[in-house]
Symmetry: C2
Subunit: 426 residues, 2 copies
């Protein structure tokens, strides 16, 4: 009866809420760690967000009270103007500042034209809008593994678009190759799915690595092999990129054959740690995509109050120049089976009380990988998390009679992050 | 090639951007009236929003600078907490305040449980989410005519849901009857569309009238005639309701047979005049709808910064008690043909330079109706609009040789709103 009454989308589990990724989150929400009121509670290491720049933002806010207080620099009120502003093209001042910030984060190797930006209520919405614009229900996008577990919801749930995984392997550091893309195409063909493009995360979530130039070339080469293929590069971790990061936008700008078929997704949730403000964006050279996506943004516009504040914040070169970024999560390996991976994961979530994400929730083709985020907690909390991990590893090793060499990578990782060198970096 | 490259949704015109409703808006955006810099520009009378309570909100903001400035009442900073807040259940303080406000606007005839509220980035998104939850692509919702032109975009575009109009007639004041609902069902059957429910606006946009109790009864009776039908009541103009307004929520609360199949849509865009802040909500007694809609709200959450400000504003009983509401648009008749309606509309838009909405853009079954909004301009601008209308009417009447008795209703309306009685009401 319930199935009949509600739509299949509403009644089914395609949202992915039952994946271990979301289960870990639920555990955290039910019992969040607090140093005083809940010292045995769950520590959140499943959230790849940068909480380390708040001191800079708060200092800025103290110096610029008008930006939050509905005043212009000249003291004039701007409440009414903002309250009524609902143009889906966005506040020009904010789009200009965002385009400038996007270029800065990418080392100014590429510039962005504000008129080709579409504002969305977070990258979640940006990715869904691109699927609505680029594919019919029942058509497919290729996504390299391991991939962010939320994509099963964001890309597929309401659009009816399918994901065909591009199977990557640790043997070459999970690099994307033309052979892997072609193999995914063949599997799509077997499923009778028309492929409309590839969606990658750069830097990769969960790998934490940047696409190598050779990988971007392989992707653009693949896209140019047919005239109806697109490349979506979700670059919401651009600011957290490791050395050597190159935006797909930079390489694509030089490639005439794929012009208009490369689309970039951005967000302020990760690099600036502002997920609550719901600010994402699509950048595309294709007028049709910009036009359709702008109309679709009606279903999730960014609050004008928030646009106004961030226009002032990101428009301030002194502030953005003061930011430094670093990786905010890593992906580590302990080589085992998928069953053992889940066993370890359950112990870490339910006993050690740390929310980390297992590789299987990221559709990783190989067992034994975990994503661990460390930039969203205070230094004190991170130390407690590392202490808990050390105790767990010691007890697990002594009980591990199968000789799996269980926790070598874990121990290496825990040691690195406990080191004074890492602490001083922070 | 473009059709092939992009999806049909992106390439087609189903967004409805080419309707006269949106064309009038575009004209306004290209040439907006300003008393000093553009006195011959277009005056916006196509926007049914209340811009008359800004003085109250601005006074409140002066008294409560902490609400906009990321401070608690005790002066403590709350920036970091808000920046990170992305729980799709919303800020509890905001949901409590919103539930209280929704009850107040409805004369406290019904109370709302905050746990049954789903926050969305505006009512645009709320209505689309309900369609995603309640119907499959290719299934239909009945919508009484005349209806808000944006529904062709909001309800149909991305969901694939169809609208079957319930044809209402001026002969009974466009009232919704069971006979009209049954007739619409028969037309749906002819189109081989399965009907999943009815969506109404209460008060009606564009009529400006409230549903009579008899109409709500007819709607609930219709919904209870099958166990898979829903009633969606879009009540975003509840605060602007004329005398006698009763929320569908109030009647539905007493009707066991339709429990869980009545869903209310709310917004702060109209009554409080805050469309830029993107705050809408779904209220439902059905747990499955609340759960699925909450997950779908990930694609358009409300900025936590905005939730925090509005929690303080709407939570302040002294402020909400000081608000008075009144109708913010009317629908007027000048009895003619659809061709003549478009001719008049073009003259008013392109020559008189007022953006009003023709009945045909609202799928009105009868020609000659217009929606004119008067609460979104200053008193001075409204006077200029009325002056322009008077001049137009005089010249039109003298050239109207067909004896259409063209502008009787226009003149009555212009006279009423020019009267000192109306001015003192404002």
């Amino acid at each position: 009866m319930q199935r009949e009454l509600l739509s299949r989308k509403a009644a089914c589990n395609a949202h992915g809420q039952d994946s271990s990724y979301f289960l870990g989150w639920q555990e955290y929400e039910n019992d969040p760690y607090d140093p005083i009121s809940n010292p045995k509670g769950m520590i959140q290491m499943g959230l790849a967000e940068n909480q380390l720049c708040f001191d800079l933002i708060e200092t800025w806010l103290e110096k610029h009270p008008q930006a939050g207080g509905f005043k212009r620099d000249d003291g004039k009120r701007i409440f009414q103007e903002l309250a009524l502003f609902q143009d889906y093209h966005g506040l020009p001042a904010f789009k200009n500042a965002l385009a400038k910030y996007m270029a800065e984060v990418r080392g100014n190797g590429v510039r962005f034209d504000p008129s080709k930006l579409v504002l969305t209520a977070g990258a979640t919405s940006a990715n869904e809008i691109l699927m609505f614009c680029l594919a019919e229900p029942g058509e497919a996008f290729l996504v390299p593994t391991p991939y962010y577990p939320g994509f099963d919801r964001d890309l597929k749930w309401r659009t009816g678009v399918e994901i065909v995984p591009v199977l990557c392997s640790s043997s070459n550091g999970f690099r994307i190759t033309r052979a892997a893309l072609d193999a995914a195409c063949r599997r799509a063909q077997e499923r009778r799915l028309r492929v409309k493009g590839v969606l990658v995360t750069n830097p990769s979530n969960p790998l934490g690595t940047a696409l190598a130039c050779g990988e971007i070339d392989a992707l653009l080469d693949f896209v140019s092999s047919r005239d109806d293929l697109h490349l979506v590069s979700d670059e919401i971790y651009a600011g957290a990129a490791p050395e050597g990061f190159v935006s797909v936008a930079e390489v694509a700008a030089a490639s005439a054959s794929t012009a208009g078929r490369v689309h970039i997704v951005c967000s302020l949730s990760k690099d600036l740690g502002l997920p609550g403000f719901r600010v994402g964006a699509i950048y595309s050279e294709d007028e049709g995509v910009v036009s359709a996506a702008t109309k679709m943004s009606s279903f999730g516009l960014v609050s004008s109050q928030t646009q106004y504040l961030l226009a002032a914040l990101l428009g301030d070169g002194e502030f953005t120049g003061s930011l430094t970024y670093f990786p905010i999560y890593i992906y580590i390996d302990r080589s085992t089976t998928f069953e053992a991976e889940m066993e370890i994961w359950k112990k870490i979530v339910y006993q050690v009380r740390l929310n980390i994400s297992p590789g299987s929730s990221c559709h990783c083709d190989e067992p034994g990988w975990f994503r661990i985020c460390f930039a969203n907690t205070s230094e004190e909390t991170l130390e407690i998390a590392l202490d808990r991990l050390k105790i767990f590893i010691d007890s697990y090793q002594s009980s591990d009679t199968k000789g799996h060499n269980t926790s070598r990578e874990f121990i290496k990782w825990v040691s690195h992050f406990s080191s004074s060198e890492f602490k001083s970096e922070r």
